[in-house]
Amino acid sequence: MLEYVVRRGLYGVLVVALVTVFVFLTLRLIPGDVVRLQLADAPGVGPEQIARRAAQLGLDQPLLTQLWVFVTDALRGDFGTSFQSGEPVTAIIAERLPTTLQLGVMALVVSVVLGVPLGLLSAVRQNSWLDQGLRAVSVAGLSIPNFWLGLLLVTYLALWFSWSPPLVYRTPAEDLGSNLVHMALPAFALGVAGMAAIARMLRSSLLEVMRSPFIRTVRAKGAPEHTVLVTHAVRNSLVPVFSLIGLQVGHILGGTVILESIFAIPGMGMLIFESVQLRDYPVVLGCVVVYGAVFILVNLVVDVLYGVIDPRIRYA
């Protein structure tokens, strides 16, 4: 078990390192000279200025040297400074990351809190009109693009209830109420796909558990149906649902980019979107590495906990 965690952890580090190298090299190999792009607008820029700026940014060094400098600095927590603002990338990300994590966690909560009851209801009332309706909702939920859902929610809440989200984003520390209200819609729009996936998975897994021989044994012992369902079936059927969560985290992280830009939430998503457009390489690089690291870390935790929940899994 410990060996498994260590091995997975080491592998996760390796993948983060590969992500770093991949993004770093892609950024450098892509056409579009940063310095020229940065200084192109300024009038009267000569070649010396371009060269000076490039030297300043370390872009005149050989590629591998740049990579080595970047990696060693990154290991110390230094991702360089933003081309745009000149601030340290680590500080910028540290400021933005909590907002995105908050949105992600809220979306995950939406997925689980709505998905689990829907799945249970669907399975318990198998083939009833309620089940059919819920299944239709699930398929629709899986297919509806989260940004369209977000737009629709804003539009119709405004049209029908004359309600619109706060115009200015407030951090939880400034104004918790305003913050939560602001985050509620994007979190819901982000969480719907997860909700649908969880409901579907839970329904089929619960139905499968209910048909399994061990449930028949429990019933044969004369346990009341309620006990059978709650203490035996549901617990076992939640195991595969759990493994879905790791997958959902990827979708949610990706979704934050677009929803943050719709709802004007200053998180990582907005940061990377802006930085990509401005070709602020250090920030882009830092963001992608952090996204990758978060994703890998969550999946590691999910896999390890998966083994705790389901003792049949052997870490060979």
Binding site: V19, P145, G255, V257, C287
Partner: protein, 294 residues
């Protein structure tokens, strides 16, 4: 040798494969409906120039932000362009991008998965799978944003970015299937018959992979269509004035309180398309489920 001479081969007895598929499809009414919707989408996209009442880029200046109805079935946008025509042409863009992406990314992903699965545990497998893990560790939109923005907005670059997104999924399915096929007795039998690796992969690997790959392809269609819209929505996908659902949503988001139809129709078309491909994929999965088919 025995004295068998010209033994006249009887007419080929084809198995009732088509009929069996039809019967299985009949058990999947939702899947059939989804299939019909997909066909309609393809027809609409192909015949957009014939069906569309207006040119999708013509600006009817005096008729901007018209509500749906009259000559403008789905209303007009802020520049007076007919939304119905733009939705039809948008289907064209979406399907074109999706088909190209799945051709590029699907072929690449399947090739990587098949080779990797056949040589599972070897250095080539290890190398390829590390690359795939790397691609998968970056959330989809982040990867797309990154690649598409660096390459600049164009349909070709969107296809490149989206291909990177789908390669790992195809790889995963193809590799998993290949791991299973590799252990099949018929592969050992083929080796005993003198088949080389390449021949085994081509004659036994690929054909036996097709069913699961078809399922993934359908599900990936859904994902690619959403992703293309998301990119266009962010302004780094299909460049204007080419009509695309994502860009239409982006335009509409500025007018959603006064002209919600600008958001409702392209988004609806997007959702229906995604839904159809998802349902079709689910139905195909059920049909090809080995537990059911044999």
């Amino acid at each position: 040798m025995s004295e068998v001479t010209a033994s006249v081969p009887l007419p080929a007895r084809r198995p009732a494969g088509g009929r069996r598929a039809m019967r299985l499809l009949r058990r999947q009414p939702l899947g059939v409906v989804a299939g019909v919707v997909v066909v309609l989408l393809v027809v609409a996209a192909a015949l957009a120039p014939v069906i569309a009442p207006f040119d999708p880029t013509t600006q009817h200046r005096e008729d901007f932000l018209q509500i749906p109805g009259g000559p403008f079935l789905m209303g007009t946008d802020d520049l007076g362009r007919d939304i119905f025509s733009r939705v039809l042409y948008g289907a064209r863009t979406s399907l074109l991008v999706a088909v190209c992406t799945l051709a590029v990314g699907g072929v690449l992903g399947v090739a990587i998965g098949v080779v990797s699965g056949y040589f599972a545990g070897g250095w080539l497998d290890t190398l390829l799978q590390r690359v795939m893990d790397t691609l998968m560790a970056i959330p989809g939109i982040v990867l797309l944003l990154f690649v598409a923005a660096l390459l600049g907005p164009s349909i070709r670059n969107t296809v490149i970015a989206l291909s990177l997104l789908v390669v790992p999924s195809f790889n995963r399915v193809a590799r998993g299937e290949m791991l299973r096929i590799r252990e099949e007795l018929y592969v050992e039998s083929a080796r005993a018959a003198g088949c080389g690796t390449w021949r085994i992969l081509r004659r036994h690997g690929l054909p036996n992979l097709l069913a699961p790959i078809l399922v993934v392809t359908s599900l990936m269609f859904a994902i690619v269509i959403i992703a293309e819209s998301a990119l266009s929505f962010l302004g780094i996908g299909t460049p204007p004035p080419t009509p695309s659902w994502g860009a239409m949503l982006s335009d509409g988001s500025r007018y959603m309180e006064i002209a919600p139809w600008m958001v409702v129709f392209p988004g609806g078309a997007l959702t229906v398309a995604v839904l159809a491909f998802n349902l079709l994929g689910d139905a195909l999965r059920d049909v090809f489920d080995p537990k059911q088919s044999r």
